[in-house]
Symmetry: C2
């Protein structure tokens, strides 16, 4: 089976898990919240974060993927909540996401705020439930996985990066941009890998290798986003092109230029591959191919 | 020491815990998020939920309150996040809360959305950390406490109630109002008590007694809010009086009348006290007095 087929198969697997772990209710008057959550959660997307988590779990010797499923679903729910809230009028004010109306355009701002809140909360609910049912000797490792995710999603990660991305841009410098990239994007990609490793019972040393790989992929991924925001088309990207640039957002490309940015992406992906070489295990091929796939992505 | 002195002492203890568990950063450009989180978290309030949790923990025989502190802080952070998001222009659009400007009026809508998100996320981060450090034999009980809180905060609880509270009110009936009260207010009060009990290692039977007590207190608490919205003054209440009534919100009082609502509060609080009688333990006096205090509250 070729890489792309494998990747799409894993993507489908993530979609199936998401449906399985979505919340639901038999009551009549609260259905709109589940519709809004599903609308954004099932809007497609490459499912990069859960696929990375699964891959790290497998490389670290995990044998039973049901052990990682709740955390994969949780990770994508956290990613989706952050997109819903980022798109709100008070934030980036975007009308389109993944080629369709953003959650607040479709359901109204009030429901979009609550749908984001609900996805974030549900992520922790299903991870907690999964920890309860883990065999006793591995509960602490599962909790360490949840801790990685929580730290990466909070003010020491994604939210902290988002805040600095919103401050006055007149004095922006490369250090601030690096802070934004490390916190807003890398942290959660690192956590996808480290959580997967912890769930397989990996050692601290192994976890740290995955953290380095995640940091390289995450930084490259964000610089790519900035590049694509300038060079791609709305049709390919599924959201407005140049919107970050137009909003005066700090981008790596604006400060370093397009060519230097492209080299940095290549350099970071190379570093990720070198770090991967240092890991043990015979199931590294997919992650290697996945890193190359991310390097070459067009949206 | 009289009850009110004890209550204020516990309130101060909660404030101290909140300061201890708040997130912080040494970076310069992200300080505003911590300011906004603290502004709302430390705005006063009666700290009803963490005090109930502590009380259930003590009645259930808990001996070391450091075991429950992270969960007390988390509960108040979750309560505060829900207030910040409820106050947003797209939701209730309130300018004042606890006698001061609401979070978005003070820091802007974007920061208020993120401050709410950050408090919700941080709540889970500190609970997860606390579970990791619990002695192995009690980790599952601590996870069950976290699960109670997560379920009560999500679409099966607070968020679900909020959604139904927002739907078209032209066909509102008493069943819907009860759904709203049970989900929006009772669920999290129940969870405060059940989580406290679980953290002390309580049995399922004991936990269910606390759930019944929480349900009665929660329902009474919400009906009281509706009563106070009509009968109190802005000065006493610290927020606009009649705002729920004016916004056409479904209230128990509007459907049942003021006198019937007052009797229902008295009836529910009596039921809570009867349920409390059925619990073992010699540390029930404070909870009994606290229920009487809640019954007579003026704000």
């Amino acid at each position: 089976m070729d890489f792309n087929q494998k990747r799409l198969e894993k993507q489908q697997y993530v979609d199936d898990i998401l449906k399985q772990y979505m919340a639901s209710s038999d009551y009549k008057y609260d259905q709109i919240i589940y519709e809004a959550m599903s609308y954004s959660l099932m809007a497609g997307g490459k499912r990069v974060r859960p696929i990375l988590m699964l891959t790290a779990y497998e490389i670290s010797g995990g044998q039973n993927t049901t052990e990682v499923e709740a955390f994969m679903a949780a990770m994508e729910m956290i990613h989706t909540y952050s997109l819903i809230h980022d798109d709100l009028p008070a934030m980036d004010d975007d009308d389109y996401r993944r080629g369709r109306l953003t959650c607040h355009k479709k359901f109204g701002e009030d429901i979009a705020i609550l749908a984001g809140d609900a996805l974030l909360n549900h992520a922790y609910e299903i991870m907690t439930e999964a920890c309860i049912h883990r065999e006793p000797s591995l509960i602490v490792k599962a909790l360490l996985a949840m801790k990685e995710i929580a730290t990466a999603a909070g003010t020491q990660g994604m939210i902290g990066g988002q805040v600095v991305d919103m401050v006055d841009k007149s004095n922006i410098n490369l250090n601030m941009i690096e802070f934004i990239h490390l916190h807003k994007t890398s942290a959660i990609i690192e956590a996808s890998l480290t959580a997967g490793a912890y769930l397989a019972g990996a050692s601290e040393e192994e976890v740290e290798h995955f953290r380095s790989i995640g940091r390289c992929i995450g930084l490259a991924f964000q610089i790519q986003d900035d590049i694509l925001d300038i060079t791609s088309t709305t049709e390919v990207l599924g959201k407005q092109v140049g919107s970050d640039h137009k909003n005066g957002k700090a981008t790596y490309v604006a400060l370093k230029g397009l060519e230097a940015s492209k080299s940095e992406v290549a350099h970071l992906m190379k570093k990720a591959l070198e770090e991967l070489q240092q890991l043990q295990g015979d199931r590294k091929e997919f992650l290697k191919a996945f890193i190359l796939y991310l390097r070459n992505r067009k949206k």
